[in-house]
Amino acid sequence: MPQNYIPIFLFMLVALAIPVVTLVIAKAVRPDNPHATKLMPYECGIDPVDTARARYTVRFYIVAILFVVFDVETIFLFPWAVQFKMLGWFGFVEMMVFLAILVVGYVWIWKKGALEWV
């Protein structure tokens, strides 16, 4: 049903228009008095000691990688869930094997300490 996708583009156009139009209106009506101190990054009233673009702790990247792994696996579950009845026992067993692999990986990362934050 390709015609069901037409509204998406219409909708996103309107959604794009809202922030853009309001920001433009706001730009027209708001005052603009920049000052060196105003334009400084916020650091509780103190000049920042170092840059905020430094390398951040690796924990967050681990979370990102784990997310990619798990979320992609979740995507595989959707078509299976839709066709679940049709696939019957075969599909169930197949998916259980798949999930078992997933769970083994999950247990492994747990044991490895990747889920520990500190």
Partner: protein, 447 residues
Amino acid sequence: MPQWLQSVVDYVTKSNNTPGWYADPVASAIWALIYIILIFTGVSIAVIAMNWLERKILAHMQVRLGPMRVGPHGLLQPIADALKLLIKEDIMPDQADKVVFWLAPVTIVITAFTVYIVIPFGPTHAVTDMNIGLLFMLGVSSIGVLGIIMAGWASNSHYPLMGSLRSSAQMVSYEIAMGMAVVSAVLMTSFKGGGNFFRQIYGTGGASVGTLSMIGIVRAQEAQQTWFLFKFFPLGLIAFFIFAVAMVAETNRAPFDLPEAESELVAGFHTEYSGFRWSLFFLAEYAAMIAVSSIAVTLWLGGWMRPFASLHGPNVEIPNYWSGGAIDLAFALVPALTFFVLALFAFIGTVRMPKHRAFRVQTIGLAGFALALGFIGLVLLEPHVRDRVQDIFWFSLKVAVFMYMYIWYRGTFPRYRFDQLMHLGWKFMIPTGIAVLILTAALGLGS
């Protein structure tokens, strides 16, 4: 009469709950446009109302009054705030990445609203019915994370950076659990009772299949005569619970409001944002809250279905009015009654206004508000209107319950710490999600 016009006319005159109007591209586009406008107005009003309600309800939980000055009982406060934010100076830090800084709120607003495309407010009240509605929703809401990271990174400041990293870690973690819960709901659509119905509509033939279409999911609940919340009790309930927790985390609300944890990170990822750009974040946050609540309602609470939708009661005939099941009739009166009660409250408020010159305008305003509510109630009594709108009413009522919960959480819970939040997400929600999924599948095989 061209075919697309015919279908438009059909849509207005018939309320037979068929999605047939999707068949014609032009009609589809026109109706989509109308719904787009309706949704944007509706969501904007809902955000404004939510803003006012949150402040009022929270205030009453905290033994204070909340906004009282702008308009009767502060009713116009959100509008005053919006105007104030519009004419406020907007500061962009000079070390910020200008383009990304500008793009971030725009991205977040677009994603927050785009989710509404797939939300069915009633069997025919939707922008479109996509066969991959759920996937679309999950995909779009993932882009929201991107907007937050953009905001944090572009600000080039410590607090926003930490806020955005926290936020992204939090959102992606809970998205997995959310996905597991959603898959179990999708599984449920293919079970007993749903089969024939889908064969009719989508013509897949053979065995019964599930669906990712949001309308289809509610239809499945209709056909199975149960909300998925109660399916395979307590499996549906657990899946719903996972989703309900994850959706609070996804929208960065208390007790999971770590990205903008005021007492630690000042304002988190939007610390550097000011003026209208800042208010766009809030618009997006409230829009997202309503959107995810709508999804929860669609997936587990029967969407637009009224409570006890399978009971109709004995047939009654009321001349010139309506005929049908007695229970249907009783429930059909609820929307109008609700508005009458609201009007009554507003009216009592009007009567209790201080009798003083200074309050005259406010009193008149509140009386006008009461009249407007009463008028809406009257309109809702009209059979044609009532029939077309009561779906939306039930849907909104369910969403409103979620909104109230959001406020309630905020009023009662302290904030989780980051490691505790990740612990909850990864070590409790995800295993539970997988377990529920497996159990649902196993039980589903037998049904």
